[in-house]
């Protein structure tokens, strides 16, 4: 177990593309950090630099107290779980799990014992002599986890480990991964593009966009205090509504003329962006804001109403026992519902 420290770590490819801008990350011992962002945001590159599969252009990487920049992947005492499992197809489950230990020169008896332990923990004991091709997707995923566990690493690296599984299995494996990581108390870095996975798994989330860290924080902070319009619209489903508007220092007004009375306003005056989460809005016949509902989406537990507020697209999420139909309606904002961002960079005000 170890803390991980990235200090100004940066990746520039030989063709001059800067995949990861200099970033500083501190991960305390035993924490599970999720790197999340859209595809191409550099999250996998960052993880692969920590793994040693990708060279670090600038900056220092420390795992524990040692600088790891030029250490071979095998000697970093890490374990990695890959998206497509990357199991060795010609080896049995037991051999797959024990291969790393065998290469370390451990005696056979010890390898067998460690593999048996890990297999028991993952409910794989009866499959030890099977080949990966004879296993289901979830079982293969477990074997990949087992291969990581038997090495007793200081750091787990997960590279979108669940994206090849179906939705139901994904939820189940997510819980298993979380439980396992907590039981073993091993520091972990987890890459995903799925914001639900990020929210549910993480101790802390790092949101990346275009090679830059947008925000680092607990799931709660990320959700309630998004640092930018990017984070606001990326985290949360359905995403936060983002409006354009203006502020006079006292009151914010949406482009289209509707004023948000009582919602406060940033000290910044002039053009701004205004964010409102769909679930922070209530249908209220005596509410102050006119909402033109165009489409009602039934999602079972709740309904999504899509329409226009002040001429701009707006979505509202309401409870399943709240009746709703298309046509004009009135809405009220819950306290603290409105977020302000600057107009150009989208930074939180």
């Amino acid at each position: 177990m170890a803390k991980v420290k990235l200090d100004g770590v940066r990746k520039v490819y030989p063709n001059g593309v800067e995949a990861v801008e200099p970033c500083d990350i501190d991960i305390p011992d035993g924490e599970l950090v999720v790197l999340v962002g859209p595809s191409g945001c550099g999250k996998s590159t960052l993880l692969r630099m920590v793994a040693g599969l990708e060279e670090i252009t600038d900056g220092t990487l420390m795992i524990g107290d040692a600088v790891m920049n030029d250490v071979e992947p095998a000697n970093r005492n890490i374990a990695m779980v890959f998206q497509n499992y990357a199991l060795y197809p010609h080896m049995t489950v037991a051999k797959n799990m024990g291969y790393g230990l065998k290469n370390r020169g451990l005696p056979k008896a010890e390898i067998n014992q460690k593999v048996a332990e890990a297999a028991k923990m993952l409910n794989l004991s009866e499959y030890l002599n099977r080949r990966p091709s004879q296993l289901s997707g979830g079982q293969r995923q477990r074997v990949a986890m087992g291969r990581a566990i038997v090495r007793s690493p200081e750091l787990f690296l997960f590279d979108e480990p669940l994206s090849n599984l179906d939705a139901k299995l994904r939820n189940q494996m997510r819980i298993e991964i979380r439980a396992l990581q907590q039981r073993l108390g091993v520091t972990a870095m987890y890459v995903t593009h799925d914001q639900v996975e990020a929210m549910t798994l993480a101790d802390r989330i790092i949101v990346l966009n275009a090679g830059r860290i947008e925000q680092i924080g607990t799931p709660g902070e990320i959700y309630s205090q998004p640092a930018s319009t990017f984070v606001a619209s990326f985290m949360g489903a359905p995403p936060m509504n983002i409006f354009t508007g203006t502020s006079d220092g006292q009151q914010a007004t949406l482009d289209g003329g509707v004023s948000l009375n009582g919602a406060g306003a940033p000290s910044h005056t002039g053009k701004i962006q205004i964010g409102i989460r769909p679930e922070d809005v209530a249908l209220d016949a005596s509410g102050p804001l006119p909402f033109e509902v165009e489409i009602v989406e039934e999602l079972g537990a709740h309904r999504l109403l899509h329409g226009r507020l002040s001429g701009q697209p707006f979505s509202v999420s309401v409870n399943k026992d709240q009746p709703a139909q298309t046509g004009p309606a009135k809405v009220a904002l819950k306290p603290g519902a409105v977020h302000f961002f600057d107009a150009e960079a989208g930074r939180r005000l």
């Binding site: 095998a74 199991l87 060795y88 197809p89 080896m91 790393g100 091709s133």
Partner: protein, 301 residues
Amino acid sequence: MADITESRIEAQSTARPAKRIKWEHIGDHAILIAGALLMLVPVFMIFASSSWDDITLHREGLQFGFSDDMANNYNAALFEYGGFTDSVNGVTMLANSLILGIGFAIGKIIVGMMAAYAIVYFRLRFATLAFWMIFTTLLLPLEVRILPSYEVITWMNLGNTYTGLIVPLIASATATFFFRQFFMSVPEELIEAARIDGAGPVKFFIDILVPLSQTMIAAMFIIMFVFGWNQYLWPTLITTDESLFTLVRGIRQIMQAYADGSSTPEYGEAAALAIIAMTPPVLVVVFFQSWFVKGLTESDK
């Protein structure tokens, strides 16, 4: 190789049970059957002829029916010492051919795999150029460079040795090409997983890449073994010692008698030897084919 093509065609046509006769298939089958006959009939003829005595064959040519000299001819072909020095029989030649075929195939597979491994997995400066240079040698078969090759081998004193027979033949563009294509289809993550598991380049090659390539190796072995078995020009040039003669070479040796005008050529024995020479490649194809179909259907990858 008539026999290989033949057995493939048969395998394909028997694999699909004909549920209903479709007219458009009749034309296809007519072509297939004609092709099959074209290749099978000569084989049958030589087999039938191997049961006749030399005089009849000399007088009347190859035969379609069977006679009673079969045991005699095969016995002579296999166990009777012949040649100019009386130092070689069929069994020795069979052994020589096997050594050549297997050595040739294994050598080509090893060299080809290692070359492909270097080209695909290592960041070499001129990897692509090197690959294309290897690839162009497809246009330069042994026959083109046979004189310089012969010079080198005699200069190294390797004439009349198995080494001299096999080594100059094993550099292979074909095998390199096929293994390169195969290695490029191996998922990148496997290499990364192996790196994290502490497998260096040699370990990755032996522990992971070689077992993964089993089916590819089997396929290459079939092609290369048959190719090596049928080598004629190079063995003729490099082996003057009759104890190193291969079967293909031996058949000619028997017919040689006719050209010398010394005696009636042993046609029956030659036919028997031809059949013996055909058998091992056919067996290799039959044996390995079932093995690699199994490998393919288990879909390890």
